[in-house]
């Protein structure tokens, strides 16, 4: 955060692009956020309820002043956001949070599942623009549920879908995609896994990384009060000197080095 930015603006909906019956890309004109956002960071949107709703930034176009977030309709706030009409004005706060580290990496395995795939799109774009090799794998229950395949292919040196029910490039979960990608490309000194998705997926990624001794950064979700560090609502269990502690998903996270996480304390 910087004292020069208000980190609050009135965003205007420029369009909603439905990807399937539940998921859509919400395109917002929000010049400040577009200028400031880094991959892995999130914005808070006022969604007709009391508390703001956090969404990872899925794409930015700083020149056009555009921010895109991918939203899955799961409840009242996401429902209201996806009912907005073109031109509607909504309050946007952010970008906030500690995003993915982009330095010291030349080969990236980018692994996603669920709504976790949205912010990874932004990450891949930026990694690509920095000349990092990008291998992406996303897990879906069925191939019908696969989203943004083309977009991911466009920004990856290789992109694999994994479907539990078969039909994907790989049968199984996102970690099976990771495994397949790794088998093909292996590691450099500066290889890193970037993961965003549901906790069981992150847990499996962590285990895989432990086995293969690969660094990983995982992006977490937590029920947030404020989203900018003052309420301590968004606890993520971490280990500090071997002891359990709670970091803030909205400030120290949402992206954490996998080695910091107290995996056994995660539910």
């Amino acid at each position: 955060m910087t004292m020069n930015a208000r980190l609050k603006e009135t965003a205007h909906v420029t369009g909603i692009e439905w990807l399937d019956s539940e998921n859509a890309l919400l395109r917002l004109n929000a010049p400040e956020a577009a200028r400031l956002a880094q991959p892995g960071q999130f914005v808070l949107l006022a969604a007709g309820q009391m508390l703001n709703r956090p969404f990872g930034v899925a794409l930015t176009d700083p020149d056009a002043g555009m921010v895109t977030v991918g939203i899955k309709k799961v409840g009242i706030g996401t429902g209201a956001l996806l009912d907005l009409e073109q031109g509607s004005a909504i309050r946007l706060l952010g970008p906030f949070g500690h995003g993915f580290s982009l330095d010291n990496v030349n080969r990236a395995y980018v692994i996603g599942g669920g709504t976790g795939i949205f912010p990874l799109l932004f990450l891949l774009h930026v990694l690509r623009s920095r000349g990092v090799e990008t291998f992406a794998g996303c897990g879906f229950r069925t191939l019908q549920q696969a989203l943004l395949q083309e977009d991911f292919s466009d920004v990856s040196d290789q992109y694999l879908t994994a479907c539990e029910s078969g039909g994907g490039d790989v049968s199984g979960t996102a970690v099976d995609a990771l495994d397949a990608l790794y088998l093909g490309h292996g590691r450099t000194e500066r290889t890193r896994v970037f993961a965003c998705g549901p906790i069981p997926m992150l847990r499996a990624v962590n285990r895989w990384c432990e086995t293969h001794d690969v660094a990983a950064e995982c992006s977490f979700e937590a029920r947030m009060g404020c989203g900018f560090g003052i309420c301590r609502g968004c606890a993520v269990p971490v280990l500090k000197a071997g002891a359990l502690d709670y970091d803030r998903c909205c400030v120290e996270g949402p992206v954490f080095d996998r080695r910091l996480i107290a995996w056994e304390a995660l539910s």
């Binding site: 955060m1 910087t2 004292m3 208000r6 980190l7 609050k8 309820q49 009391m50 508390l51 703001n52 309050r91 706060l93 937590a222 029920r223 947030m224 009060g225 404020c226 900018f228 560090g229 003052i230 309420c231 301590r232 609502g233 968004c234 606890a235 993520v236 269990p237 359990l244 502690d245 709670y246 400030v251 304390a265 539910s267």
Partner: protein, 308 residues
């Protein structure tokens, strides 16, 4: 020119808006949004003797009219606060009140003692947090304990001692009187109402602590009633807290008997809530024909019985 200053006992604040404990951290994050010296004052997150990691998540849930929280007093402990937080915060040219929480009387005394000479403006005894097993609300619902803890802290404190009360009691006036009897310089209220929500799909309480503290606009009428009741029950000043989200809410709370107010949940919803309210206040006061904020305190005119 509207005179925005208010007085809480011996303390004068530039304006009546103080950030409420637990909804402003130790000010650092908020200083990214605006200069903290705009505020009347800042009440810190509760500080305990030892560091506390707080309750496991989920700690937060939304509910009609507000939110539930069960953070569980996560804080780095008094030593770290004195070393890492207060020096910075005190440099921001804004009065600082430190909210302290303990399991028993001696915790409160030790904490008060630790804060002697620290340069803060007041100590706020948190006798009201509903999210921990011992101390806090357990003390704050027993007049004898309130009085004893207050008296013991007053003995060591070098700044005014405020006692923050819980609304989860039958007779709030008795709690206020107990604080006054113990020598409190002011009382502040309300802390959160004890509430609960259940996820009907998982059949689990939405908050890991099972119950949580309810705050936000939905607690305002209860807070206002209690502030009014307490301001009638004691002679010491009352700091009004609970559900204030607008300039109108500030005025209403002052009229009910508050000498200053604290803003909590509103900060979480919009980091600019307090400066926005501050910006709105002078115009509103002018519209109401009031020249000085302090003159509003207790200016409500209750209906007399049999009035028409």
């Amino acid at each position: 020119m509207i005179d925005m200053r208010v007085r809480v006992g011996s303390l004068v604040f530039d304006n009546p808006l103080l950030a409420a404990s637990g909804t402003y951290g130790f000010g650092r994050e908020m200083s990214e949004f605006y200069r903290l010296d705009r505020l009347g004052g800042i009440v810190t997150k509760a500080v305990t003797r030892e560091p506390r990691i707080g309750n496991p998540p989920h700690r937060i849930a939304e509910t009609a009219g507000g939110m539930l929280n069960a953070v569980g007093l996560q804080n780095p402990g008094i030593d770290s606060v004195l070393r890492d937080e207060l020096p910075w915060l005190l440099k921001q040219h804004v009065p600082v009140v430190v909210n302290i929480a303990g399991r028993d009387l001696s915790d409160y005394v030790v904490l008060t003692d630790n804060l002697v000479g620290s340069g803060i403006s007041a100590v706020e005894l948190n006798l009201s947090c509903p999210n921990v097993k011992t101390g806090c609300m357990a003390i704050g619902s027993e007049p004898d304990l309130i009085e004893a803890v207050t008296r013991a802290c007053k003995r060591v404190a070098d700044v005014p001692v405020w006692v923050k009360l819980t609304p989860n009691v039958t007779h709030i006036g008795d709690m206020a009187k107990a604080a006054e009897a113990g020598g409190a310089d002011a009382i502040s209220l309300i802390n959160t109402l004890l509430g609960m929500r259940i996820d009907i799909r998982t059949r689990r309480p939405v908050i890991k602590n099972n119950t949580g503290g309810y705050s936000g606009p939905g607690v305002f009428p209860v807070a206002l009633r209690m502030v009014h009741e307490c301001s009638q029950a004691v002679r010491i000043p009352v700091v009004g807290i609970g559900g204030i989200h607008t300039a109108e809410g500030v005025i209403e709370m002052m009229l009910a008997g508050a000498s200053a107010v604290q803003i909590g949940t509103a900060n979480l919803i919009d980091p600019y809530a307090m400066p926005d309210i501050l910006d709105a206040l002078p115009g509103l006061l002018t519209e109401l024909g009031a020249e000085a904020m302090a003159a509003l305190t207790g200016a409500v005119q209750p209906w007399q019985e049999g009035a028409r």
